[in-house]
């Protein structure tokens, strides 16, 4: 084998410099060998005879003169049946299988095939010999859990391709050749069930990209009603530590109304991934009745795992998301946290001695973040079916300050912003999404007028509260005081949700429409009380009743009874018509 090789001349952290005397490709995969160790790396800079590579592993023990082998392919993901339900590291090594091999600890330089090479899949062809296909067109299908997994013509193929041969229905492994295609120039190539795709390049085998407008129901009320996310949209969740970014993502990964969920745990605590790893197989997906794990893939590159692989992990996740999108599925990618990835970029940039931008992040930070979020989207595939990738990224701003570069660069490119606030989480108001600072450009489940009403009420209520801190309750007018109580009520009864309660943890779309409509109707009423204490205690009781209502199953008799109770309580304190006419 005439492998292209070079020699190590320098090591600085995970950046290795090598000397070469042949052509190399930017971003190609490189292996650095020392003794029996063979470490994966990516070429990231070329300077004359010298090339610099970021090694995806600890570089301890490398020495000058070590061999560097160039693979001439870019960092790629293996795509094929059997990705769902798996747990990978940032380089797509299956972690449970690594554990079988190396025990408790991750040993560097151990790489395993991403897809099971032995498992057989039931293949059914859908094209005939002589048919013309294009890149990304379906050649056949295999059942993968609850999905029909499409085996597609390679995404990288160009022009019209003719099916020269295709195997019949039968059982095959991912490495078996299932078809042979011929391109316009007449050269033919084999197609396996598995294909490789460079993770940093978007898959573009679709007819057209559409504007995301259908809401993606996350079953988190404050999100779906006030700051909705659309299928194919992008959103970010910045928050200081302890504000519940990760919990919010975990809840979303369970309850979101999508086909496939890809979780990219990028540079965060290992313990949190473990919760997902251990709990998901036990939880049932209410939509399918199967284990949640069957629709989930986890990419896990936690904070103590090699830094350079953090970048690879988010790209791997988005590539797999795009792959399932190509099957006409709706995919949600949750990246926690994009800040750690940005920090990985900063570390590498620093070692390359690039001129730093703000807070020493590299100048290209914004374009890298933008390009990543732009891989989300709603598309119409060539066969007319729709598929989408929705991207939700958490951001961990230093000091909880949203002015920092990563948050700002992200805000420029996302369609919704769910800003978590320390103030709200300290007050145990979960989810701690700040209702006055967050925004969304996507349409809500409920009417725009109702959303506006709610927002104004919250804003006004907050203004009154600030004022009351100065002038006290005594100095506040009854009308203002009622606005304050209504705002607080809407916040506590609707925006806040108990993540640990069976029913309250997830509120479906229909229920949100019903309950929010009812609450807005009630809050629009003019109410009359003899004094502030009476008003306060009435709202306290009303809140208790509404929280009980939230905890009843939608559509049950209890639900109707609880609703009746809430309505009755408001009815009892309604301002009489005659007085109302005179007052307003």
């Amino acid at each position: 084998m005439s492998e292209k090789q070079g020699r190590v001349v320098g090591v600085n952290g995970n950046i290795v410099t090598a000397e070469v005397d042949h052509a190399v490709t930017q971003n190609e995969v490189v292996y650095v060998s020392t003794g029996s160790l063979r470490l994966k790396a990516e070429l990231i800079r070329v300077r004359g005879r010298f090339v610099e590579m970021q090694v995806f592993e600890d570089t301890t023990g490398l020495r000058a003169g070590d061999t560097v082998s160039f693979s001439s392919y870019l960092l790629s993901a293996e795509l094929g049946p059997g990705l769902l339900g798996r747990v990978y590291d940032g380089l797509q090594n299956p972690l449970p299988e690594l554990a079988e091999k190396t025990g408790y600890f991750l040993q560097r330089g151990t790489y395993l095939p991403s897809l099971d090479r032995v498992r057989k899949w039931k293949f059914t062809p859908v094209v005939k010999v002589g048919a013309t296909v294009h890149a990304g067109d379906t050649l056949g299908t295999v059942p993968e859990g609850i999905f029909t997994h499409r085996i597609m013509a390679p995404f990288g193929a160009t022009g019209a391709l003719t099916v020269q041969s295709i195997v019949g229905a039968g059982e095959h492994t991912v490495e078996d050749v299932v078809a042979r295609l011929t391109d316009a120039a007449g050269s033919s190539f084999e197609v396996k069930m598995m294909q490789r795709w460079p993770v940093k390049m978007p898959v573009r085998c679709y007819q057209e990209r559409l504007r995301p407008k259908d809401p993606l129901v996350t079953q988190v009320r404050i999100v779906d009603t006030f700051f909705p996310v659309a299928r194919g949209g992008t959103y970010c969740v910045p928050g200081p530590f302890g504000a519940g970014t990760t919990v919010l993502q975990q809840i979303t990964s369970r309850n979101a109304d999508v086909d496939v969920v890809i979780v990219a745990a990028c540079g965060e605590r290992a313990g949190e991934v473990v919760e997902t790893l251990r709990e998901f197989p036990e939880l049932t997906d209410p939509r399918t009745g199967k284990s949640l794990m069957e629709r989930t893939m986890i990419v896990c590159n936690t904070s103590s795992m090699p830094v350079a692989a953090r970048e690879a992990s988010v790209y791997l996740a988005v590539t797999v998301a795009e792959y399932y999108r190509q099957m006409g599925l709706h995919v949600l990618l949750l990246a926690d946290s994009t800040s750690r990835w940005a920090q990985a970029l900063r570390e590498v940039s620093g070692r390359l001695e690039e001129i730093p931008g703000e807070e020493a992040f590299p100048a290209y930070l914004e374009s890298v973040i933008a390009a990543f979020y732009e891989r989300g989207g709603l598309v119409r595939l060539k066969d007319g079916s729709m598929g989408s990738v929705t991207i939700g990224g958490t951001v961990s701003p230093a000091g909880g300050n949203f002015e920092e570069p990563v948050t700002q660069a992200t805000l420029k490119v996302v369609g919704a912003f769910h800003g978590l606030s320390r103030e709200r989480s300290d007050a145990r108001r979960y989810p701690a999404i700040h209702p006055l600072e967050s925004w969304s450009k996507y349409p809500s489940l409920v009417s725009q007028a109702d959303v506006e009403f709610g927002r104004k009420l919250l804003k006004r209520g907050n203004d009154v509260m600030q004022m009351m801190k100065v002038v006290g309750e005594e100095g506040t007018s009854m009308a203002d005081f009622l606005q304050y109580l209504k705002g607080e009520f809407l916040d506590a009864a609707y925006l806040q949700q108990d993540a640990f309660h069976d029913v309250d943890a997830a509120t479906g779309g229909e229920r949100q429409k019903h309950v929010y409509g009812a609450l807005v109707g009630l809050l629009r009423q003019d109410l009359a009380f003899k004094d502030k204490d009476a008003a306060r205690s009435c709202f306290q009781r009303l809140l208790q009743a509404t929280i009980d209502w939230n905890r009843t199953a939608f559509g049950s008799a209890d639900f109707a009874a609880a609703e009746q109770r809430v309505r009755g309580m408001v009815e009892a304190v309604k301002k009489p018509e005659s007085v109302k006419a005179g007052a307003s």
């Binding site: 320098g10 000058a64 554990a99 302890g242 103590s304 990985a344 000091g399």
Partner: protein, 437 residues
């Protein structure tokens, strides 16, 4: 026999440069100079960069006194620490040399800063660590395999708290990593452990404020490597690190010397990864022991948004705020407590929630009072409750097991409120609410 180099090209800060090709990244070397006492003349150094035939070495004892013709002898291995039961009861420096009168240990060397645990081998934490401190046991339970910092400021009794937890926690081995400790504090730890007979199950790696700064960097890695070995031998290990802010400052110092571009207030861009690499060593092995890490992070200027506490908060599973000699109930958080506090006693969670909510109301009442508003009868109750809560549970001198602390909680509630006012579920009221005589 390995080559000895005798030509130092460059000395900048604690980093020296030698023209040497046959060395590996992170290899150790011994640097011998002519100046100083025998002890001072030899120091370990570690390769921190290889570049065009030159090796950059970080000298543990500092570069002071190193001549340009100093002897540099490469040892052909990265930093290691000796591991055996002989470590127990001993005190070492950051570079592994004995700080007490015992012999130097060279048996069974294990590498430090080893690979991280495969996330798929981790398990959901399951065991509580009892400390006898109600603010921890009742309100923010410490859990085996947890990593928790104590956020504090200079002058607070954080080292006293740490040593108390060390003495009272039910663990097999205590590993203390001291970074930038005042000599007095080092002696305090040593004497406390000795007096209470806990030194025999402890290993101390201590870097005092007067020691070379590079050794400070090694302390957490040495301590955690030893802890990991004990844990693999089915021991439950508690690692105490004080003070991680000094560790971060040492990182900063080295990074600046190496002309790295600082990111935030002079700290290097990889501060998060550096801290995470240490904290993430906390683990509960499925069929072996566990490592629990309790670390002190002093917040410069009591500012939690300072890069060190801020990055720490993103890494650790909660935090304890130590202010005015008490563990603050607000802000303090054990993210793992729900894994264990449902299995202790049925009233544990209720007491935890109810007492904190009432204490929060008490704080509001105090604010109202300080602004000169009128105090209602309810406010008066809250005020007297707050006082008792602070005196009988929050105070650090209170030292009772969990069950007694819960009983004390009921006693305080009953003395201050009617059952309905406290918002306790009636089932628990029947069982636990103390009957009036």
């Amino acid at each position: 026999m390995r080559t000895v180099y005798t030509k130092v090209d460059q000395i900048v800060g604690n980093v020296i440069t030698v023209a040497a090709s046959e060395v590996s990244y992170r290899e150790l070397a011994q640097v011998t100079s002519h100046v100083g006492t025998a002890q001072q003349r030899t120091s370990l150094a570690q390769v921190i960069r290889l570049e065009a035939g030159r090796a950059f070495l970080q000298v543990f004892a500092g570069a002071r006194g190193i001549a340009t013709d100093a002897e540099v002898r490469f040892l052909g291995k990265p930093m290691e620490v000796s591991f055996s039961d002989a470590l127990l009861g001993r005190v070492f420096t950051g570079s592994g040399a004995p700080r007490d009168s015992g012999p130097r240990l060279t048996q069974n060397m294990v590498p430090i800063a080893g690979p991280s645990v495969n996330p798929s081998e981790r398990i959901i934490p399951r065991r509580m660590v009892r400390t006898g401190i109600p603010m921890i046991d009742v309100f923010n339970t410490l859990v085996e395999s947890q990593k928790l910092p104590i956020f504090s400021v200079a002058g607070e009794p954080y080292n006293e708290l740490l040593s108390r937890i060390a003495l009272q926690a039910e663990v097999d081995v205590i590993v203390l990593g001291g970074m930038g400790l005042k000599y007095d504090d080092y002696l305090f730890f040593k004497e406390t452990l000795e007096q209470k007979g806990a030194l025999q199950r402890s290993v101390l790696f201590v870097h005092t404020a007067a020691d070379p700064v590079v050794e400070c960097l090694m302390v957490p890695d040495m301590a955690l490597a030893v802890a990991e070995q004990f844990a693999l031998q089915k021991k439950r290990v508690l690692v105490l690190l004080t003070d991680m802010t000094n560790f971060a400052d040492a990182l900063k110092e080295i990074a600046i010397t190496m002309e790295q571009i600082p990111s935030n207030r002079g700290y290097p861009g990889d501060l998060y990864s550096q801290l995470a690499a240490r904290y993430e060593k906390a683990v509960d092995f499925q069929s072996a022991g566990s490592i629990t890490i309790l670390a002190v992070t002093t917040m410069p200027g009591d500012d939690v948004t300072h890069p060190v506490p801020d990055n720490t908060g993103y890494i650790t599973e909660g935090q304890y705020y130590l202010r005015n000699g008490r563990i603050e109930p607000f802000g303090s958080l054990s993210r793992l407590k729900q894994f264990v506090n449902g299995k202790t006693r049925e009233d544990h969670r209720t007491i935890m929630n109810v007492m904190i909510q009432l204490y929060a109301s008490c704080k509001e009442a105090r604010e109202k009072r300080s602004m000169g508003f009128k105090m209602s009868a309810w406010d008066q109750k809250l005020l007297s409750y707050g006082e008792r809560f602070e005196r009988e549970l929050m105070d650090l001198s209170v030292n009772v097991p969990l069950e007694q602390a819960l009983d004390k909680g009921w006693e305080i509630l009953a003395a201050c409120f009617e059952p309905a006012e406290a918002g306790v579920p009636s089932k628990l009221v029947d069982k636990f609410w103390p009957k009036k005589p």
